[in-house]
Symmetry: D2
Subunit: 314 residues, 4 copies
Amino acid sequence: MPRDSKSRTSDPQNISLTNESSSSERPSHFVENALWDQPSYYRVLRRSHPANTIVGVRGVAVGGTELTIMAGPCAVESPQQLIAAAEHAAAGGAHLLRGGAFKLRTSPYSFSGLGEAALKLLSEARRVSGLPIVTEVVDEESVLLAAAHADMLQIGTRNMHNYVLLKQAAATGKPILLKRGMAATLEEFLNAAEYIMAAGNDQVVLCERGIRTFSDFTRNTLDLNIVPALKQLSHLPVITDPSHGTGRRDLVAPMARASIAAGADGVLLEMHPDPEKALSDGYQSLDPDEFTELVSDLARLAPIVGRTLSVRGK
Amino acid sequence: MPRDSKSRTSDPQNISLTNESSSSERPSHFVENALWDQPSYYRVLRRSHPANTIVGVRGVAVGGTELTIMAGPCAVESPQQLIAAAEHAAAGGAHLLRGGAFKLRTSPYSFSGLGEAALKLLSEARRVSGLPIVTEVVDEESVLLAAAHADMLQIGTRNMHNYVLLKQAAATGKPILLKRGMAATLEEFLNAAEYIMAAGNDQVVLCERGIRTFSDFTRNTLDLNIVPALKQLSHLPVITDPSHGTGRRDLVAPMARASIAAGADGVLLEMHPDPEKALSDGYQSLDPDEFTELVSDLARLAPIVGRTLSVRGK
Amino acid sequence: MPRDSKSRTSDPQNISLTNESSSSERPSHFVENALWDQPSYYRVLRRSHPANTIVGVRGVAVGGTELTIMAGPCAVESPQQLIAAAEHAAAGGAHLLRGGAFKLRTSPYSFSGLGEAALKLLSEARRVSGLPIVTEVVDEESVLLAAAHADMLQIGTRNMHNYVLLKQAAATGKPILLKRGMAATLEEFLNAAEYIMAAGNDQVVLCERGIRTFSDFTRNTLDLNIVPALKQLSHLPVITDPSHGTGRRDLVAPMARASIAAGADGVLLEMHPDPEKALSDGYQSLDPDEFTELVSDLARLAPIVGRTLSVRGK
Amino acid sequence: MPRDSKSRTSDPQNISLTNESSSSERPSHFVENALWDQPSYYRVLRRSHPANTIVGVRGVAVGGTELTIMAGPCAVESPQQLIAAAEHAAAGGAHLLRGGAFKLRTSPYSFSGLGEAALKLLSEARRVSGLPIVTEVVDEESVLLAAAHADMLQIGTRNMHNYVLLKQAAATGKPILLKRGMAATLEEFLNAAEYIMAAGNDQVVLCERGIRTFSDFTRNTLDLNIVPALKQLSHLPVITDPSHGTGRRDLVAPMARASIAAGADGVLLEMHPDPEKALSDGYQSLDPDEFTELVSDLARLAPIVGRTLSVRGK
């Protein structure tokens, strides 16, 4: 029985690139310029592009030999908080600084981010720390603002299926960090990346961030199985987000280590200068010392899986 | 362990409407105009509005004693197909005609709808059949176009979390058909409706359309349990979509009957004049005879649950 | 990708009954008497037995035109409680009395039932009320004891995969009430029934009782979709358990109505003379008045779906 | 809303060991010797036993500094197959040999193992290779036979809730390898281990083997998140089974590496001398060369997580 909107070509290795339909079966001129029976996706596949894609984010290479650490607070809250986070991130070994300016919140009454003010703070934090900036976009306006300030645009889990937003983000030419939808199959995830590539932007990083299951000791179930499965099928870099993936500060470090061991190209970590006071997601944020120790662990792990992680900090 | 973005107030019956936070704990002037610790949602709750909300769609009342039947093809394909569908729908007892002009497709290469041409066809079909029109919107442009032609705007399952779209659709003042996200909790579903109501539009109909589970004999798992749970908590009308909910034509009729027996205010049904030739979702579409027979069954069932369904057709 | 232990013949309609393997490919004499490449299941299928199977439980027919109501407390607690429950069940229209003598409990320290004493009480309750008895079995000893006192043996959700127990219960010749495993696919459920039939017992009633999903407003997600799917594929009677299926007393009545509307042959209901004082599952048990009202609703619903339910009580 | 049979004490850190109930509220003498309001589990918890439990399997320590590798074929098929597997396992660095004599199969017509003949072969394989034996038990008879031949008894995922079997296996005094049920919560898993410990056997190893989710690119979803969560809560050793956990030979090595990086005490691997000819699960079995290479990887990884793995083979 087919899953929702799943491609009928269920084995990605056997996708036919041939258009097998004859137009004579088509109902009318109304659909004459629709595309028929195209493969569901192919640009993202390794057989279209055997070598690993390396995504460049203002000089930082994601998907090469060097692992990538992205870290920072869930939300930009204040200059003090962000600058402190950026300095700790740089000192601890991060390559990119993350920070939310626009937050998708379940409730219309929750704090939804500081918007452009946060983007300006992020620019300032970049100047101070030297770290390129990744920030989430949620609509056309935020895409335009973020493109003017940030170095990489993140599409969140709730927007993986928001194909309009994918195209708007793609059109900026900025590299895109695409998070897996919380109930997305592997094929749907690759199709979302295909939307970005079909819009002319091949700078896409895939990010596993936890799926919805019956299991209730974690906020989500970080599905590391998808890391080697994606690396095999696709040439795009793959990272994980163990902070959202588990929702538990005590599980972030072991699951980050496991991500790298499974073949991930990097990790995205929530780190806050003072997690107890974080406006959102403090219970899953590392503090600076935990972050520094984790990066050091990952650096020792890297050569085991044929990677490097040069802790630049101290 | 908290679910993703779940409100910390887990029991909706005990939501406090009081703002319990003192601003002195807040970190800085950057967040001074954010709303703190508001209840996650309350406008959608029955305790805010004890009577059932009745949503009016160009003269058709949804949520009153009379059950509502919405029917039509997944996608508008051609004038012939749509007019035939509209006539069958009206003859068989439908109150509203559904038809897709803008389709969210998993693959960027799939047929994504005829757009404005389809909306004009839907207007023509309304003129011929007398049935008001419900159609899905996927972005700002489609919202504006659909608002000019259709009578009710549908937010699809992939967009339930697209709060920007919810607000754009709400702003048209048109009644909204809001589908549950395929991995949305009951609370997330009600929060999405709260976004629409908070934007000033209280004409919202909730629609259960199947969730993602391990179970693989159906395309999705239609979760009828949410129907009585929503009816109890909320004053908004609740319908189901057994076509997408099961993905199997042979299960549509029994699950439509079960929906009404569980307390639903109506059903949304895929019906195609010739399902074998449908461009999308033909395997889950009823043909006109099956549709007519099902509506007749539902009409006999209605009084058992204190409802009416006057088969107007023949 | 294959599910756990799923038959390789994924379409039950296309099962080949022919043994296609040649023994020459087999590795050694060690496996010479194993059965190769048999169909995974066929005795349970409607194409092996087109007519509905009617299961007889001490004179009560399950699976015929008349719907079957099974009701009673989760656990047998005392003579007073059980006799009161039996009298209320009979008066309210039940055909069978349920009551647990042996309970599978998650914790080794929870109340695990009164055992043989409960079986004797159930016999006494049958004498007083005239209702045949259904009770759960959990191991060989309980099978032997229950076979001596009860009229139908229930296999619980945690034991659906306990094939040893299935065979032991089958061997008693008593009719079997088989509950779906909480994560069992439709095929695994039918295979479990096939174990019982292959052991020579064709008196099997299938019972949907809720599956494990991400959804958290119910204890389980009662999956009514499986009712019409099973009725189509199999000749065995199908009932549901909305008490365990939802875990919420307020959802039991609507989901019981929905079950019958979906085509179920009956329902299994937890009913306790005083739910507030129940030793287990009180929060999902109906009280006698709620039970009587629900049966009366179902009796009015029955003719809509071509069934009867003669309320014998008053 | 409570999960099925979940303890009401949801935070294991706050379990009260005090019996808070007064017997005066109890309904009758029938339940006077039942245990009331005991904690759901405590013997398995680290706060009952702060040090790691080290389980001894005929001289092999599981749960100490040295990681444990268990490997072998899904099913014992023939002397040639098993002896070859045992020799490859020993040469490649395994500490224990696994092999199935009794198989729980979804269909009553599938190959269910060679039974006692397989146990005798396993004894012979132990003599040849020097590796202690772990084998699955499925009922009382298999428990007694396996206890006479094997060194560790495995309880499979379908039997995690089979408390009768847990007690029978516990009573042999043999160490127990307990697999997580495919839809079991963390609490249910720990409760199953508590059954074994409450029966007087504290030699329990927990094994994550994949859960049922919507995700369909793997046979199951190996949930590595539970590894650090269990290690924190419990003193028992924790291993994983990436072969069943993913069902894909190509994902076994990366997920085995990830398991160790997440803190697992070892891995259970399907390895077959000739996977293409395996009678069951060949598509998820490593061949001897893949196995040897993986163990070598794990040996290099071990010191990064403070463990050792001395490849004894060559």
